[in-house]
Amino acid sequence: MMIPKLMQSLVLPVAKTQASRRQFMLGALAAGGGVALGYHILASSPAAASDSAADGNKAAVFTPYLTIDSDGKVMVLSSQFEMGQGSYNGIATLVAEELDADWSSIDVRGVAGNVKAYGNVAFGGTIQGTGGSTSMVTSWERYRKAGAAARAMLVAAAASEWGVQPAEIIVENGVLTHPSGKTGGFGVFAAKAAAMPVPTDVKLKQPGDWKLIGNAKLKRFDSARKTNGTEQYTIDVKLPGMLTAVMIHPPMFGAKVKSFDAAAARSVKGVVDVVETPRGIAVVGEHMWAAIKGREAVKVVWDETAAEKRSTPELMSIYKDLAAKAPAAIARKDGDIDAGFAAAAKVIEASFEFPYLAHSAMEPLNAVARKNDDGTLEIWGGHQFPDVYQTLASQIVGTTPDKVRLHVMKTGGSFGRRAVFDGDVVVEAVHIAKAIGFRAPVKVQWTREDDMRAGRYRPSYVHKLKAGIDGDGKLVAWSDHVVGQSIMSKTAFEGMVQNGVDPTSVEGASNLPYAIPNQTVGLTTTEVGVPVLWWRSVGSTHTAFAAEAFIDEVAEAAGRDPIEYRLSMLEPQSRHAVVLKLAAEKAEWTKPLPENRFRGVAVAESFGSVVAQIAEVSTDGSGSIKVERVIAAVDCGLAVNPDQVRAQVEGGIGFGLGAILGEEITLTAGKVDQGNFDVYSPLRIDAMPVVEVHILASTNPPSGIGEPGVPPIGPAVANAVYKALGKRIRVMPFTKTLNA
């Protein structure tokens, strides 16, 4: 993949200064200075918010973080992109809390183009982005301070208007009052307040005074619009004269257009143009159906010289061979692994296989591009890495990034798919607009097949694990060899790959919490022409499975209870131990289950949070299983929106369960076999278990929650299935073992 120069300079400084991804995430939790970074912008460039015309009746711009209109409507300007995970709601909660706003007057819109204000502090602050479950991490101080500053400005405006002391003014539910009887809503003072100096030393509320933060009864501000069809996604963008394009992508990764014949397509009613772009052929129509029909009539000859032509069985056998050899790089080394195994009374081994997985968000990828008469470019889309996309787009049209205006749309899911280094569908839209001479705005809309076959999958991996226990069953040696593609090498995040170790390949394996004296985690990175990407919970999608399923095997070999065994290797007060005990208590682990019910446990840390899950499965005697109930215990620091933490864990469990039960992307001679939901099968409602989520009370700053619900579900279910059927699941998806 080609990395544009500008993008490198945009991103690499972050990567270079940080030793590991984990460190840059967790570092942010601790770094007060870093967290305040965006906040200094409050005082320096309030006009940077722009676009306040869109925010209602004479919206006054307070800071880059919010506007208030003359009706008192508060528009929170979110640096974090909304794909369903509730970031907008969380950020709105932080602002509304400190602002003492009326929750029903809050709205949120995504913003971009001001990295000083919107840079993700968890990514070092130099790039805006949504990922790694960091939205609350990066927003926690920034948006509370923004709310508090705006509140102080409103108070100052009212005080001067009324000729009273600011300290005498009370703010509640979007209304300012003075004991003298004077009263007025935010809207009355918004214009005047926005002109006041921005205070730099605002005091934040004490937790005891919070009304919204941590309030389990608070409802999402955006649910109603998602029940009546009015929520606007990228697919819904409609501009005057807009055309719709569909792509013909190469049938194999790395293939290129040799020639194409579009004569027949051009005569299809509604087809406007057929153009070549660096990413394939685009069929441009008056509407989606015309473009789809036109596409069927295009003939393309491909140059497959450089294409990846291998099939899944061949790749898997290469991976398995590599896994049996010594790892190419070492990610963790404790003690003396050889001595550990030599001294062990019993050694067990197991290999685990993981397929490629597609994100398959419900809204297939799309973006809209328009070039205006003044030379500026506008792009509507799910801009998960907006600064990167702005830069890339400016290069395509030969302008500067400041001439590219991004409209950050809400999207029907993402799960990591819209956070790409090369702009993907976003640059595709710009390429098509350019290829038709910018004569109309263009929406490029992928079909489900385009979306599923475009790559950027969760990489396929093989894990080879080996454990040694002593005569007392104590785990004395543990090795895990991970084999698979790197997500970050050859991208703008290349600098994160140190000593041959891409941290996203081994996270969850190299930070195993158990006290094991001799431990090695090795990595062999493979080169395959299939583009890969982060997929909800990234490395922990496979590392946690391998580790937590194998620990169960070790516990069995040691003749110990799986929870008791794990606890014996954890400090009693550690976060892992605490959530394990909480889950065990809520699931009544020590009590026998009804007939035909079996349970399994797993615990995993990801994105600063620790989640334990106990899964209960039932069998019908025919060898098939059903996951009936999952009890989750969660330590995600302070839960800003407890009900949304619950929702993310419920959804994470469903997302992860679907993958391990039945999802798999395979290749035959380089071509992706799956194209739609008839053969690629995410979880459906009939397989959804009852989910109980228990959130640990915590005073630590918020950590991730969009992803951490995913990793434990696979191994917890696999461990329960073993109890039920006596079969160890080591090859994903489960159907391979259960139907075998």
Binding site: M83, G84, Q85, G86, K219, R220, D222, S223, A224, R225, K226, T227, N228, G229, T230, E231, Q232, Y233, I235, D236, K238, T244, K269, H287, M288, W289, S360, A361, M362, E363, P364, K410, T411, G412, G413, F415, T447, R448, D643, Q644, A647, E650, G651, G652, I653, G654, F655, L657, G658, N676, F677, D678, P682, L683, R684, I685, D686, M688, V690, V691
Partner: protein, 152 residues
């Protein structure tokens, strides 16, 4: 040119007979609440009512509709539908929300025909509606809650 009755209004649309209703609704009529997810009757995001019965609009051709009345999420009315919509917001069922027009269409149809559905009834009726955010736990709870409120 085809005439369609959508949400009680007649629309003359410039569509060939083989155009799926989904694209006619979205691109020609401008009703975007009905969503595209798969284009092959696998996800339910495009569900609309045709003479009151749920159909996948991606597999319903404009030329086959005739005089049948189309109801989209924008035109969904009545006690059952409104209760479902209210409960959906009260329970914060949606995450990204993209699938929810379809979920609400199917849930409304289920409750209209079966006022007290069991979990199995719900699974059977809703299994054609994918939710990649996996909001299923709350969809189930939402249908039970709506049934309860409708009974009261």
């Amino acid at each position: 040119m085809v005439t369609l009755t959508i949400n009680g209004n007649e629309h003359k649309v410039e569509a060939e007979a083989d155009m799926p209703l989904l694209w006619a609704l979205r691109d020609l009529v401008g009703l975007t609440g009905t969503k595209f997810g798969c284009g092959m009757a696998q996800c339910g995001a495009c569900t609309v009512l045709l003479d009151g019965a749920p159909v996948r609009s991606c597999q319903t051709l404009v030329g086959d509709i005739g005089n049948a009345k189309v109801t989209t999420i924008e035109g969904l009315t009545g006690k059952v539908a409104e209760t479902v919509q209210t409960v959906w917001a009260d329970l914060d069922v949606p995450q990204c929300g993209y699938c929810q027009s379809g979920q609400i269409m199917s849930a409304t149809d289920l409750l209209a025909n079966n006022p007290k559905p069991t979990d199995d009834d719900i699974d059977a009726a809703m299994t054609g509606n994918l939710c990649r955010c996996a909001t299923y736990h709350r969809i189930r709870a939402g249908i039970h809650e709506a049934a309860k409120r409708l009974e009261a």
